[in-house]
């Protein structure tokens, strides 16, 4: 049922503007150093991660004139600056490429909290980007938005893969962007979801997540397009699956049946056995219930005799949880690990609650990564799963 082999799309390029700074090198250095980048603000409040100042100032003022007055000096302008920087980093060509923008609530806080009422608001990020790009790059088609919570990026990637596989376009850039705002912080705090310390994914003592900022861009292109500049080593995106628990608006289904189904279907559709997966990059973010569900589902899917399942890690301990950008953050970090031939440690994890998985604790583990799985979950019980394979350009 529902078998679908998404075997002809590759991650042709990726670029990160994260709380580690601008560029893939900054992100890679931070991941392999294994130290958290979230911190507690001087004025108090829950620890969270924000862009370095240079990132948010680099392209400030790029919004179109009619919008500029509304967002100048706000979080919206900061996020727009980081987003434009990221698109420039990946070499986005507005005249030839399609742009899909993933963000959860993005600019709500900026809009609601700037004391001037709502001037634009959450709904404007794709259009702001379009306007900004039009100013500097000469237009292109308006961006499309994906706004379904923490799996917004997964939905956008899924759409990009389908567009490429259908032959509708040769490449699509997915931009996942999220900022941290007062609204966000207080909203998650109200849910009791924030940790008072740096997040501890999978750890027995975990008590919540850290919100953070991040903008990540990936170019999804048709496999076999080496002649168009896609390197032969580029990862093949061999399967993408999204499923819904249909259980609760914010909590995961405890049994994880739908997350399990998404993983199994992804493996089946790529004709991959669980034992062939070298590493799993799962966005366990330190949440009490979500991490437990994910660990138990991973045990079901991957645990086998001998306990030699895939290496398991998460980016949340270092980079925090950038909500709508999470799926793409994990994907980009998985690509970095594949390129490095090593899996970075799951920062914050000391004593796993669920045994039986090969967590990467403390130090990176060097290992050639032929196939990896990327997993994220989100509000509404949505689960996003990707499978990456080495050497996608051969198609």
């Amino acid at each position: 049922m529902n078998r679908h082999r998404a075997a002809h799309a590759v991650v042709a390029a990726y670029y990160a503007v994260s709380i580690a700074g601008e560029g893939n090198s900054a992100l890679s250095d931070a991941l392999f150093a294994g130290r958290t980048l979230v911190s507690s603000p001087a004025e108090g409040g829950p620890p969270h991660g924000v862009f370095p100042e240079g990132v948010t100032a680099a392209r400030a003022g790029m919004a179109a004139e009619r919008l500029r007055d509304g967002i100048a000096g706000t979080d919206a302008e900061r996020l727009l600056s980081a987003s434009v920087l990221c698109l420039e980093g990946i070499g986005f060509d507005a005249s030839r490429e399609r742009l899909l923008v993933a963000s959860s609530q993005g600019l709500v806080g900026a809009a609601a909290g700037d004391g001037r009422g709502i001037r634009g608001g959450a709904f404007l990020l794709p259009w702001m980007l379009h306007e900004a790009l039009a100013e500097f790059h000469g237009g292109g088609r308006p961006a499309e938005s994906f706004c379904n919570g923490c799996v917004a990026g997964a939905s956008a990637l899924e759409c990009a893969v389908d567009m490429v596989r259908a032959g509708a376009v040769s490449s699509v850039v997915v931009l996942a962007a999220e900022g941290v705002s007062d609204f966000y912080l207080r909203g998650f705090e109200g849910l009791g979801a924030l940790s008072s310390t740096a997040a501890r994914p999978f750890d027995r003592r975990r008590d919540g997540l850290n919100l953070s900022e991040g903008v990540y861009a990936v170019r999804i292109a048709a496999a076999g397009s080496a002649s168009r500049g896609v390197p032969r080593s580029t990862p093949l995106l061999s399967a993408v699956r999204v499923s819904c628990d249909a259980f609760h608006l914010s909590a995961p289904a405890r049994g994880g049946a739908e997350a399990c189904r998404a993983m199994v279907e992804a493996l089946e559709s790529a004709s991959t056995k669980p034992s062939e997966v070298d590493a799993v990059f799962v966005h366990a973010n330190g949440s009490v219930y979500t991490d437990l569900m994910l660990a138990e589902v991973l045990c079901k899917v991957f645990a086998g005799p001998g306990g030699d399942g895939p290496l398991v890690t998460s980016t949340a301990g270092v980079l925090g949880h950038p909500v709508g950008a999470v799926s793409v953050q994990e994907l980009v970090c998985a690509c970095i690990a594949m390129e490095a031939g090593a899996v970075f440690p799951c920062c914050g994890l000391v004593e796993p609650e669920v045994e039986g998985l090969r967590y990467v604790i403390g130090e990176p583990v060097e290992r050639g990564l032929e196939r990896v799985m990327v997993i994220s979950t989100g509000f509404g019980g949505l689960n996003g799963v990707f499978l990456l394979e080495c050497g996608g350009s051969g198609g």
């Binding site: 049922m1 529902n2 078998r3 679908h4 998404a6 009619r66 919008l67 399609r98 959860s104 609530q105 709500v108 609601a112 909290g113 004391g115 009422g117 709502i118 608001g121 959450a122 709904f123 794709p126 259009w127 088609r141 308006p142 499309e144 938005s145 994906f146 706004c147 379904n148 919570g149 917004a152 939905s155 899924e158 759409c159 389908d162 567009m163 596989r165 259908a166 032959g167 509708a168 376009v169 007062d182 609204f183 207080r186 909203g187 705090e189 109200g190 849910l191 009791g192 999204v242 499923s243 819904c244 628990d245 249909a246 259980f247 608006l249 189904r261 509000f379 509404g380 019980g381 949505l382």
Partner: protein, 387 residues
């Protein structure tokens, strides 16, 4: 130059397997409720503006613990109740068991033989719960308010109520997000990701009573600001609709949900590049799937606010078209305006004479419809329907 010359087939998203427009469709707005498979023109005369009647937002939860949830349902945000009410009404319309068997209302996935996805569109839906939160003035957001401020919450709620385990794709923040959402539904079906897709648009630009700062921007002001920013004609706050919702059910080829009588095939679509729906887009859609000349009779469905009768006549001259069908639009419905247009077009096509074999349904981007001197290359998708 012939209307059909230079068919830009390369611009068409080719699909090996088409999709099927199922009869399931509900449109709920300030004017009342309409069913796609209803008799006659149906419904009261439509006009943008005003609020949906409270009675239409009363719905009976159908999922687990329905009785317990009935009381809670009244406390949900209006926009979420609107979506849920619309979804339950649609399931009732589709269910052979009718309203008497709530359990049967959750059987859609079994009925179509696989996962059902939800695509959802909203431009401003989120705002009704965000606006009351102004740091330093309002109280902190309550957990439920915060969750519902998420754009995807209404769709997730519908999935939860109806037990739909497919993916959910939420499009938000664009005046044309309804059209984007419908395109995504077709792509997902063509890619074999699911067996059917529930397409849903909802918008509620008016805040709920209470809890707002007196001097904060109201929904109407927000509406006007959005209209000004997007350059959209028809977003005059005086005609803003408080809420509207539309749901359409589209299936993979071969899917027939019980009691669905439409069964029209959607064999192609065209969504990329900047295109005038009656030039590049129109030709591309016409070119799709054709081997030689188009098979008449063909009817072109166009937004009435985008093409005058005189322009239709000019385009029609010398073509094998059965004619143009000009369908009114209500751009003020925001994310629902595309669905409303499609809904009307489908009903009119159903009742139209003479018979047509193929219909090219065009949409013109909201931004492009904002002024008489809109750029000719403005974006707008086209869809090919076949009987």
């Amino acid at each position: 130059m012939s209307f059909f010359s230079n068919a830009a087939e390369a611009e068409v998203e080719r699909v090996e397997k088409g999709c099927v427009m199922l009869a399931g469709g509900i449109l709920l707005g300030p004017w009342g409720v309409e069913r796609l498979d209803g008799e006659g023109a149906g419904g009261a005369p439509r006009s943008c503006g005003g609020r949906v009647e409270d009675a239409l937002l009363e719905y009976s939860p159908v999922g687990p613990s329905a009785r317990r949830k009935r009381k809670k349902a009244r406390k949900l945000p209006r926009s979420v109740r609107l979506a849920a009410s619309c979804a339950v009404s649609l399931m009732r319309a589709l269910s052979p068991a009718g309203a008497g068997d709530p359990g049967a209302l959750r059987g859609l996935e079994e009925s179509v033989g696989g996962p059902v996805d939800v695509v959802c569109a909203t431009v401003l839906g989120i705002q009704e719960r965000v606006e009351p939160f102004v740091p330093g003035v309002s109280a902190e957001p309550e957990p439920s308010s915060f969750v519902f401020s998420n754009h995807g919450a209404a769709a997730a709620f519908v999935q939860m109520e109806l037990g739909l385990h497919g993916g959910c794709v939420q499009s938000a923040g664009e005046p044309d997000c309804g059209a984007f959402a419908f395109l995504r539904a077709l792509r997902r079906l063509a890619a074999g990701r699911c067996r059917a897709v529930l397409c849903m648009g909802w918008d509620s630009p008016f805040r709920e009573p209470g809890g707002c700062r007196a001097d904060s921007s109201s929904g109407r002001e927000l509406f006007a600001a959005a209209g000004e920013y997007f350059g959209m004609r028809g977003l005059d706050p005086s005609i803003a609709s408080e809420s509207a919702c539309c749901m359409l059910l589209v299936g993979a080829e071969g899917v027939r949900a019980s009691s669905c009588g439409f069964g029209w095939r959607i064999s192609g679509w065209c969504d990329h590049g900047r295109m005038h729906p009656f030039e590049a887009g129109g030709r591309a859609a016409v070119g799709h799937g054709e081997r030689g000349a188009p098979r008449p009779p063909v009817v072109h469905v166009v937004p009435a606010d985008s093409l005058s009768p005189e322009e239709c006549e000019r385009w029609n001259a010398g073509s094998p078209l059965a004619g143009f069908l000009r369908v009114p639009t209500m751009r003020g419905l925001l994310s629902v305006c595309f669905f409303d247009y499609l809904f009307r077009a489908l009903r009119e096509l159903r009742d139209s004479a003479p018979a047509w074999n193929r219909a090219y349904v065009h949409w013109r981007a909201c931004g492009a419809a904002s002024s008489a001197d809109a750029p000719a290359e403005a974006w707008g998708p086209s869809f090919v329907f076949e009987r």
